[in-house]
Structure formats: structure tokens, C-alpha cells
């Protein structure tokens, strides 16, 4: 049995190009006659789950489908990948086109490829998650819908998307509102996005992506509670966040509140080591 510590330095890969190796004339000739399109292929789409937190509740951006299939149902913004762009680039392009959002946090989530997931034919979709603060989210030309999670923790599963309109927010109204009809398998995709977000919240500085540049600790706590769908301990939350090294006090304080104004903090990438 061998015990070892983290490896120190990577050994360089020795590249002795043989006559048939990478970049050789032999390989060039092979590639020139290779027919990749000899096989039947699926279409590749990219869908984006855009989340924000407004008034202590997780919301997702959707649009109402005006065309078949699933006409009239709510769907995630997305589209087909182009042949000259990476998946991340496609997600960012579609986010800019469909939601007018640029410079936002985008991360690949999961690839959905069940044969029957889209009646138009075989479409594999690479789902992404985007996080944005409430102000920018509200300005996007997409419908805002509340996410209702029928499971706790990181159990996983589909979620409901509900619309309680302009009515003053009420817990009972939220709990009892009918779920909106969601297109394709997008309720599963949003569900997995919630699960992933919950999982990353405590271990990565992802919560800051849902806030503006300067924010109070209370706002950050609201984000965590909305994502987790549960209350968190105020004291230990403050200690953890301040000890994480991700927060930098600005010296400024919030304004216009009727109570003691809290200090504003800024998100800083933790220094290496």
C-alpha cells in the first residue's frame, strides 16, 4: 500500500511524431477522404435555465411557445448549436439573443437525450444554468415564473413552475397555485438545475452571482434561503461568509431602510493560497 501526497510537477509529454502520428501526411490523407456524415445524427440544442431570486423566491425565465410542438406551453430559452461555436459560446449567444443578457455566469448543467423527449425528432439538448441579479433579470424580455420545489434538500426530481400574477405574495397562494404547463422535459431540466444550484451553494461562491455588485449580508442570506427553500442560521451564516474570504467590506452602507442600515460588501475571488 502506497501513501502519497499531491503530485508536485507534471512531467512534459514527449512528442516524437512518427510517420503516421498526429499531423503526419498519412493522417492528412486519411482525413481528406473521411466521411463523418455517413452516419445518422441527432440535432444538438442548447437550453438555458436562467435563475434569479426576487423577494426571497427563486424565479426562472421562460417564454410561451407560439409554434408547435407544445404550443402555448412555457419553455426554456434555447436554440440549436451552430457548427462553428463551442457549447458555452452557443449558450452565451442564445442568452444574448433571447434574453438580452451578456456577461452573466453560465455553466453547463447536463445533457438530455431521451429518444422521445422532442416530438420533432431526435434532439439532444445540452442544458446550461445562468445566474443573474434581480434587476437585470427583470429587464429581460422573458416571462418570470416562480419555481416551486416539491422536494427538500438535494433529493432531485421535477419542479413546478407557478404564476401567482400581481397578487401580493402569500405563502398559501404560492403553495396552492396551479402549476403552469411546461413544454418538453423542461420541468425535469429546471429540477436538475435547482438540485445542482443547491449542491454548489455551500461549496462554491455561486450565490454572489445572484446579487448586484454590492450587497448586504442579509441579502446574501436571503439568496441562500431562497435557493435552499429553507431557513439558515443567521449567526453561523455570517461567520461562515466572512471567514470564506470571498467578501470584502466596502465601508458603504445601505440607504433608505427604516432600520439600522447594514454594511455593503463586495464579492472578491479568493486569493490563491
Amino acid at each position: 500500500m502506497v501513501k502519497r501526497r499531491p503530485h508536485s510537477a507534471a512531467t512534459a509529454t514527449p512528442l516524437d511524431l512518427p510517420a503516421t502520428g498526429r499531423g503526419s501526411a498519412d493522417e492528412q490523407a486519411f482525413l481528406a477522404q473521411y466521411r463523418l456524415d455517413a452516419f445518422e445524427r441527432p440535432s444538438v440544442a442548447v437550453d438555458i435555465v436562467v435563475f434569479t431570486v426576487i423577494d426571497g423566491h427563486l424565479e426562472v425565465a421562460l417564454y410561451e411557445r407560439t409554434e408547435h410542438p407544445d404550443q402555448g406551453r412555457l419553455a426554456l430559452p434555447g436554440g440549436f448549436m451552430r457548427m462553428d461555436e463551442s457549447l458555452d459560446d452557443a449558450a452565451r449567444r442564445l442568452l444574448a439573443d433571447k434574453a438580452g443578457l451578456t456577461d452573466v455566469f453560465v455553466e453547463q448543467l447536463y445533457t438530455f437525450g431521451e429518444p422521445g423527449r422532442d416530438p420533432r425528432g431526435r434532439i439532444v439538448t445540452v442544458a446550461h444554468v445562468a445566474l443573474v441579479d434581480a434587476a437585470r433579470f427583470s429587464a429581460a424580455p422573458l416571462l418570470r415564473r416562480l419555481v416551486r420545489v416539491p422536494w427538500s434538500g438535494e433529493t432531485g426530481g421535477d419542479v413546478d413552475v407557478v404564476d401567482i400574477g400581481a397578487a401580493a405574495f402569500d405563502d398559501d397562494a404560492f403553495d396552492e397555485a396551479a402549476a403552469c404547463a411546461v413544454a418538453f422535459d423542461h420541468a425535469s431540466i429546471i429540477g436538475m438545475a435547482v438540485k445542482r444550484l443547491r449542491g454548489k451553494l455551500d461549496y462554491t461562491p455561486v450565490g454572489f452571482q445572484l446579487l448586484p455588485a454590492e450587497f448586504t449580508l442579509r441579502q446574501l442570506q436571503d439568496i441562500h434561503e431562497a435557493v435552499r427553500g429553507d431557513v439558515v442560521n443567521k449567526d453561523s451564516f455570517r461567520r461562515r461568509m466572512l471567514a470564506s474570504g470571498h467578501l470584502e467590506a466596502t465601508g458603504n452602507h445601505e440607504r433608505g431602510v427604516t432600520w439600522r442600515p447594514a454594511e455593503l460588501y463586495r464579492f472578491v475571488r479568493r486569493s490563491a493560497v
Copy 2:
């Protein structure tokens, strides 16, 4: 600000099919004339990173490419997705075909789609991770290679794949061995697989997948140390594992060892609640 506990029960989705809704004649007519293949599409492949731990070291299953491109380099087992199967099914099919492995833990990892990642053309690959115990791994008709991770923790990045042959294992030989030439972006894929595995090890019962049905706590600790590339505290490891509820004592003990034989445990799925 609203505080809420986990939601209790999901409200059923009300499905009133309008004349133009899901399954309607209108939709059927639309789908009949829809041409999905009007757009250019990439190919979709599935690659599998098969891991095991042998002699306290993480190993990966590879094969040597006999055809262009990247002829002679080591590559992950994989292949193209068929039009009638899901991504997970494709991974399991390819695992059975290429490695003779069935009934193993398989999980989707990440989808790689950089435009230049394969010189044959635009190929998007959905990478998967498979975990198997040492005995089944050794029986697979694939090359065994050691994984050398040039970063600690969950930093991430490419990894080296090294071959120290039949020489008695030696730390210095391992550290200084030249890295094998790996095809395409497979060194990145394996690197992300290591990162994911390390991340899941402490929070999910994934380590058991690398062991036979019955195992000692020491073997389980060896798995964790090999995956993490670091030593773990024996005492707290034992406590954590026994307290996790995933272990069930069999009453049997290991045989043929020259020291006090340890008790054998079995992996049990933790009971709900």
C-alpha cells in the same frame, strides 16, 4: 421577506388540451411537415472514463488507436450514439461492447464540444464515468494505465496517463515516468472525471462502486486515499463511514492475511429518513 420550509405536496398539473395543444390534430399536422434536418448538425459521441483502484492507485481503461486520427495514441472507449437509444443506454452499450462490462455504475460527466476537438469534423462527445472493482477491471480487454494528477484537491485540469509496466511499483518511478500520448482532448476529460470523483467521494456513496461486494474498512480507506491522492485520518474515517449508515457488518472476516483479519462489510443503500 418570506421564510419557508420544504414544500409539502406537489400540485397536479391541470391538463386541458386545447385544439392546438399537445397531441392535437393541428400539432400532428405540423410535425408531419417539419424538417429537422434542414439544419447542419454535429455528430454526437459517447466516451466513457472507466476507473478502478488497484494497489492503492487510480487506474483508467484505455485502448491504443489503430486508425487515424491520432493513430497510436491512447483513447477512451466510446463511439457514436444511435438514434434509438438514450445517452445512458449508449454508454452502457459501448461499455459492454468495448470492455465487456455490464451492471456497473455509470454516470454522465460533461459534454465536450469545442469546434476543433476532433480533426474528423464537428463531434460533440457526452463523457461518462464508470466505476468498477479491480477484479472486473482487470478482466476487461482494455489497456490499464495509471492516472497521475498534477493538481491537488478539486483544482481541476488535465491529468497524465502513465505506464510503468510490470516493474515493481515505486513512487519515484511513478513520479518520473513519461506521460503517454493521449488522443484528442481525452486528457482533459479524464481530468474532469477525477475532479468529479473527488468531489462526490465525501458526499455520496460512490466509493463502494470501486470495491467488490464485501470489503474491509481498510480497503475502503485505500479507495478514498487513491482517489484523493492524499492520506486520510484512519480514526475519523472509520467513525464517519460507520456512522453514514451505508455499511453493514457481515460477521465474516478476511482470510489469508498475515495480520489480524479485519471484519468484512457490505454496502447498503441508506434507508429513507
